[in-house]
């Protein structure tokens, strides 16, 4: 029994018993993050485009890019808040256009001031989104199916109600916003997108509802058994998605000075690629449970920049789509490489 006595020394303190193990600071973690990778790409492409075409960094080009980016960012946010629940919203475009058309109608036919009109439009977005949410929860079907169906229904109903006519008499004050320049380069729309981004970040970090949506997305059963109303959270997420989609739609209305039924293409499908690109480049898991608002923001920005740059280089529009598709693949592969590098070097 001698060796037992020898071994039964007092418990070692686990922290001091071993040589210190590498622990990362917050700054180091940021440098290894997906968001930082996006920033690097943005800088890289800025340099490339600027050296090819001096026009790229002109005030007008920067302004136009910010304005387009704002719309893409909102579209990305709209998809992101549903992706974090582990679902999808194929109706981002349809809801965005429906809400924007309603806003146009309120301004033209009902003669409302643009502020209440926009508010009304956002309410429509929330209601349409919530309808999706309720149907998904009640039916137990995947959001893919439900939003695919409601997308067509909503878009069709909108075409029927508006007779496919545009509303062009929208309040001049509202369309001024879309053309306004702050300090020659900054669009109020980009500012709006930044503010909304910050609000979303705060909401998913500090509010109960935001955190419960993430929990529901990560493991619905465990969330339910922890006292979270999972169905309600999914409905909230879809309602929020509707609101964000309508913000994107209203931005387009403000920019063009008209609410046009085809502003997002047939059934709103022109928005589908940006809707996925932002969140996926931004590193949001398609299986849900994790959010990166900054990533989505940067991802959407990168996509806008590439589109603008390629168009500036007079690359045909259809090639732009091809390049965007390639970008998605490259980004995903890069992320994979980054992750395995981190795992190999024990940094995560």
């Amino acid at each position: 029994m001698a060796d037992i006595e020898q071994n039964s020394a007092p418990v070692r303190n686990p922290v001091t018993a071993h040589p210190p193990v590498r622990q990362m600071t917050a700054v180091q973690r940021f440098f290894l993050s997906n968001e930082f990778g996006l920033i690097v790409l943005i800088v890289l492409f800025t340099i490339i485009f600027a050296s090819i075409s001096p026009m790229f960094l002109s005030n007008f080009s920067l302004y136009a890019m910010g304005r387009t980016a704002a719309v893409n960012i909102m579209i990305g946010f709209s998809m992101m808040v549903v992706i974090v629940t582990g679902g999808l919203n194929l109706g981002v475009g349809a809801i965005g256009v429906c809400g924007a058309m309603f806003g146009g109608w309120l301004m033209q036919a009902a003669g409302l001031h643009w502020l209440p009109a926009c508010f009304g439009a956002l309410i429509v977005g929330a209601l349409l989104g919530a309808t999706n949410g309720v149907m998904i929860v009640k039916s137990g079907l995947h959001s893919f199916i439900i939003t695919l169906a409601t997308m067509s229904v909503m878009f069709g109903a909108m075409i029927f109600l508006t007779q496919a006519e545009s509303f062009r008499e929208i309040s001049p004050a509202f369309s001024t916003l879309g053309r306004m320049k702050i300090l020659a380069v900054l669009s109020p729309m980009l500012l709006t997108a930044i503010v909304i981004g910050v609000l979303l970040w705060l909401a998913f970090k500090f509010t109960t509802v935001g955190r419960e949506i993430l929990a529901a997305g990560a493991n619905a059963r465990a969330a339910e058994l922890s006292g979270i109303r999972v169905g309600r959270m999914i409905t909230y997420a879809h309602a929020l998605s509707g609101v964000l989609a309508v913000v994107a739609g209203l931005m387009l209305v403000s920019r063009t000075g008209a609410a046009i039924p085809s502003m997002a293409g047939q059934l709103g499908q022109d928005w589908l690629l940006p809707a996925f690109l932002g969140p996926v480049l931004g590193g949001n898991l398609l299986t849900g449970g994790r959010i990166s608002v900054l990533g989505t923001f940067l991802g959407a920005f990168l996509v806008t920049m590439l589109t603008t740059g390629l168009l500036l280089m007079q690359v045909g529009a259809f090639w732009v789509q091809t390049y965007l598709g390639l970008l998605l693949l490259i980004a995903v592969l890069l992320d994979l490489a980054r992750r395995s590098y981190l795992a190999r070097n024990k940094l995560v």
């Binding site: 029994m1 060796d3 037992i4 071994n7 039964s8 020394a9 007092p10 418990v11 070692r12 686990p14 018993a17 071993h18 040589p19 193990v21 590498r22 622990q23 990362m24 705060l202 500090f206 509010t207 109960t208 509802v209 955190r211 419960e212 993430l214 929990a215 990560a218 493991n219 059963r221 465990a222 969330a223 339910e224 058994l225 922890s226 006292g227 979270i228 109303r229 449970g289 994790r290 024990k346 940094l347 995560v348």
Partner: protein
Amino acid sequence: MSQFTFQAHAVTKTFPGVVALDKVNLSLTPGSVHALLGENGAGKSTLIKIMTGVHRHDAGHMEIDGTLFAPQSTREAIAAGVGVVHQERNVIPRFSVAENIFLETLSADPWKPINYPKLYRDAEHWLDLLEIDADPSTKVEDLPVAKIQLVEIAKALALKSRILMLDEPTASLTQHETERLFSIVKRLRDDGVSLVFVSHKLEEVQEICDQVTVLRDGRNACESQPLEGLGRQDIVRLMIGRTEQIPTWSQRDCRDRDVALELRGVATQAGHTDVSLSLHKGEVLGLYGLVGSGRTELAKAIIGADKVTGGEILVEGTPRNITSVADALHQNRIGYVSEDRKSEGLILMHSVLDNAGITVWRRLQNAIGAFTDRSVEKAVSPVVKKLEVRTPSLHQTIGNLSGGNQQKVSVAKWLAANVSILIIDEPTVGVDIKTKAYVHELIRDLADAGTSVLLITSDMPEMVTVADRILVMDEFQIRGEVINDRDYDRVSHEIMQHIHGSSEVAAE
């Protein structure tokens, strides 16, 4: 030729922020059952995962029959004759029992069509051997936790390995199934297989093992020595550095207090037809039964996760219609610690803090529904500290913690929830003896402070230590009541009598 089947020399493994194994040695001899012991987070599962090709070690080397062994994948380990039952569940829920048991052989030749009748017949053999009462074609997801565990064991046995590692195989088994497993283990041992057995139940270790290796903080506290001559307290001292403290709590009787929760003739969709019980304020009411007796199902019905089809549930004397866990928690202040931490108790991809705090967010939020992590930390850290959750930080992903440490958080989140009625289902599955005592203390503290506790556990000593009164459940019915006077032999005997009495009646 070495006398050892397997040897590990100075195996080292680090994870970010954690040294899991620090120059660990292990030698296995043929025809023996080797106990691998240590506190939660000591590194037992990590060692097993390295031996089975799940993780790669950083330094040191391993040998099988004297030749170098460094599996790069689980498949390589299996080919070398190393089989394993992992601590964490490792089955495909949507596949049938038979498909899961023969998963490795099925996937070896992906183009060969599967002969299902034969597959089911072969599976029957293993099911019979382990006395698993389940059809080979049932989906694993439809089985209760304990049966899934048995399927895991069958799966490992079907590989017919020369080295078989069992990482806490008995954690969610009751005595009967454990005995069944042990008779198989003994047979394998006598056939010359080297077995490694991990468990926090020292009685089991002393019953079945002949050699022992203890890990402490990732280092050998003792190395492949005979178990003979080591008493329980010797082993405990190797594990935790001091002897065990066994609480000698006196008898408690709360039956003259107000009733906090009452069931009157409750029937459920799960299969209960007529269950009545009352839980008094500040009482710890035990619910004992064998696996599949309907205890968890009853708990789920009470908290609104399963359907109640008849009878009445009264909370503090008023009939309540609870339709969701949120109702139970927010309207009735009832909480439920799930027996299944992996799929029901925890959100594995989220942090320790998010998991521990999920039940307190709504309590801590301000007027606009916001809260800070700091306030959550303040609310949960007393419990998390008391249970000594071993983690590099509260922001660590909980899926990276050792099994026992995950379990601690799964319990901690409800101990911090400030509920007045708490249903606790198998709270100490996979928890080491030291922390187990802390869990018991915390339950006791809650009860002393007025919380009513319904304790479901298959661990008889735990039941006798903690419960004030014990109800015995069998086949979805309550068969009897035992007043717990902490006399282990008498109480356990009486409990088993209630169970066997009822099955005799059922057999007639």
